[in-house]
Amino acid sequence: MSTRDWLLDDSPATLTQANLGRAWRMSTALLRNPLAVAGLLIVLLLLATALFAPWIAPESPVGQNLQARLLPPSAEHWMGTDELGRDIFSRVVYGSRITLLIVALVAVISAPLGLIIGAVAGYFGGWVDRILMGVTDIFLSLPKLILALAFVAALGPGIENAIIAIAITAWPAYARIARAETLTFRNSEYIQAVRLVGGSHARIIFRHVLPLCTSSMIVRVTLDMAGIILTAAGLGFLGLGAQPPLPEWGAMISRGRTFILDQWWVATMPGFAIILVSLGFCFLGDGLRDVLDPKQGGGK
């Protein structure tokens, strides 16, 4: 029996075989979708760039060279230089670290928060559900960007506060999904079986309910990444996110604003990085939805 046959076996002998087989089927389905592959490559490129930034960037992201101010793109400076003579390509490369940090932290804060709130609401039902979902609905009915702006205004500018503000506006969508998923299997037999053998509420929620929500959650978080990147860049553009001299893409565009009419590259280049990465997450999210969540029918 070849490895492939073992993976695709209809009656797996062990749990490991079943899990590996499922992973194999999903990854082949994902790799058949050209847009998803493009998205995956872009996200991997982002990871690699962030990881190997010192080796990729030809110059320091903060090293000034006033002799080489505002040079147009050339063989030496692929994306030109900014008003302090810094190499824009090097700054964009280092900026990938900040973008990655922001999206990772927002996801790590808001997804579990939303998951737990939604699962608790769906599992217990009744008044708990009404209170939690009431709060969720109010947050959902407000404009996200404005809410994030107001939170940063109160907390003060800075990258940590920007991350907190974005996370505060991102969780309600996840709570809705987790609640909807929880409701579908709350009364299923295997949950009742765990209850009968004396599993506590916390154990049921964390061991048996939450794992089942993860696949739709992964899809949603990936699709939301583009929005998170744009909000973070927007906060940076307004001077409320990452502070200079950090090479955050939105803040870089803001610096280039003064020169947009004559030295267009200063503001334009970081924008291409934002578009590329956001598109990558959109493509990947679309593909993942088709694979993990076929009932949603992304093909439509």
Binding site: V135, L145, L149, A150, A154, L230, L238, I274, D286, K300
Partner: protein, 348 residues
């Protein structure tokens, strides 16, 4: 936060009809007030400092502390806050030294003008584009529309504004630059509505009208692009649902001309859900205009908000947040009600 309010939101949801709608909307507003109150009084380490600014003297600081009633319980402070907002009192802005409510009333028409033209562009182009993509499913038109729609989710609005300015204003000279009017046209027409196009038309001054339009067309088109991406994608999805139905096949078999199949049999039923989509994108445009206004120095509510943010002018920030949030909620609720009134299935 507002647990009483939120419980009642759910209770209100089960209530039917107009009464239920009013209750739900009122409670959502109360939730919005709870959030702005929370942001203004609980989140900052020193709320007084965030209102008076760090250049205030000790006497000003103490006066503001008493005026804000910070020595009283939080819940009393909240009711005070709700009461003053209901009377139209949003506090005084430390940068303009005027009541925030007056400031907002003055700047809001500019935002409304830009967002309205934006949504008109989005609907006029987005709906036909979506229908076209649906009838050519899988062909190049459809693929182009798909990439276009995803770009709508991936391009930063402020970046597109800057690039647009560099290209269409500085490069080609097709449109006018930032601001609402060229400086020598300012003050020529009386401000009746503060919507520049209407004011100019009322005064019969077509030079001003043309100049205002030249300033408006680029930011409105950029806003329009974002709503176009969303509207086209939703239209396509609704149309595909319809075109897959059996009555469409029946109509085709009967020999109904293809344009009639698409626009009458296919398109007619989706007009109602499209209203909701358009309402949602209109509300989203009000939010998107914050970034666009900053780039185009457009004297609307978004520009007011970002200026206040940079001056740490908390009353102005919260007032603008409140107004944008309230309009956002109102548009959403109205499109919700329209959907219910217009959809024959929901009657009875």
């Amino acid at each position: 936060m507002a647990t009483d309010a939120t419980m009642a939101v759910r209770a209100g949801r089960s209530a039917k009809g107009v009464g239920g709608f009013v209750v739900v909307t009122a409670l959502t507003f109360l939730g919005l007030l709870a959030i702005t109150f929370f942001i203004g009084r609980v989140v900052p380490i020193d709320p007084v400092l965030s209102v008076v600014g760090d250049r205030a003297t000790q006497a000003q600081y103490d006066a503001a502390r008493v005026a804000m009633g910070l020595d009283r319980p939080l819940i009393i402070q909240f009711f005070d806050y709700v009461w003053s907002v209901m009377q139209g009192d949003l506090g005084t802005s430390i940068s303009t030294n005027r009541p925030v409510a007056d400031d907002l009333l003055r700047v809001f028409p500019a935002t409304l003008e830009m967002a309205t033209l934006g949504i008109l562009i989005g609907v006029a182009l987005g709906v036909p584009a979506g229908v076209w993509a649906a009838t050519r499913r899988g062909e190049w038109v459809d693929q182009v529309m798909r990439v276009f729609a995803l770009l709508g989710y991936s391009v930063p609005a402020f970046w597109l504004g800057l690039v647009g300015l560099a290209f269409f204003y500085a490069g080609l000279g097709w449109v006018a630059g930032p601001g609402r009017l060229d400086i020598f046209y300012e003050g020529l027409v009386p401000a009746r509505t503060n919507v520049m196009l209407i004011d100019a038309a009322l005064a019969g001054d077509w030079d001003v009208f043309r100049n205002a339009l030249a300033h408006l067309v680029l930011p409105a088109s950029i806003l329009g692009f974002f709503s176009l991406a969303f509207i086209a994608r939703m239209t396509r999805s609704f149309m595909l649902d319809q075109l897959g139905q059996e009555f469409i096949t029946t109509a085709r078999v009967k020999g109904v001309p293809e344009w009639r199949v698409i626009w009458v049999h296919g398109f007619k039923p989706i007009r109602v859900p499209l209203i909701t989509v358009i309402g949602l994108s209109y509300a989203a445009l009000l939010e998107g205009s914050v970034m666009i206004e900053t780039v185009f120095s457009w004297p609307g509510i978004g520009n007011y908000l970002t200026t206040a943010l940079l001056n740490a002018d908390m009353n102005a920030v919260l007032g603008a947040t409140l107004v944008i949030g309230a309009v956002f909620i109102l548009i959403n609720k109205i499109s919700d009600v329209l959907y219910r009134v217009l959809d024959p299935r929901s009657k009875g």
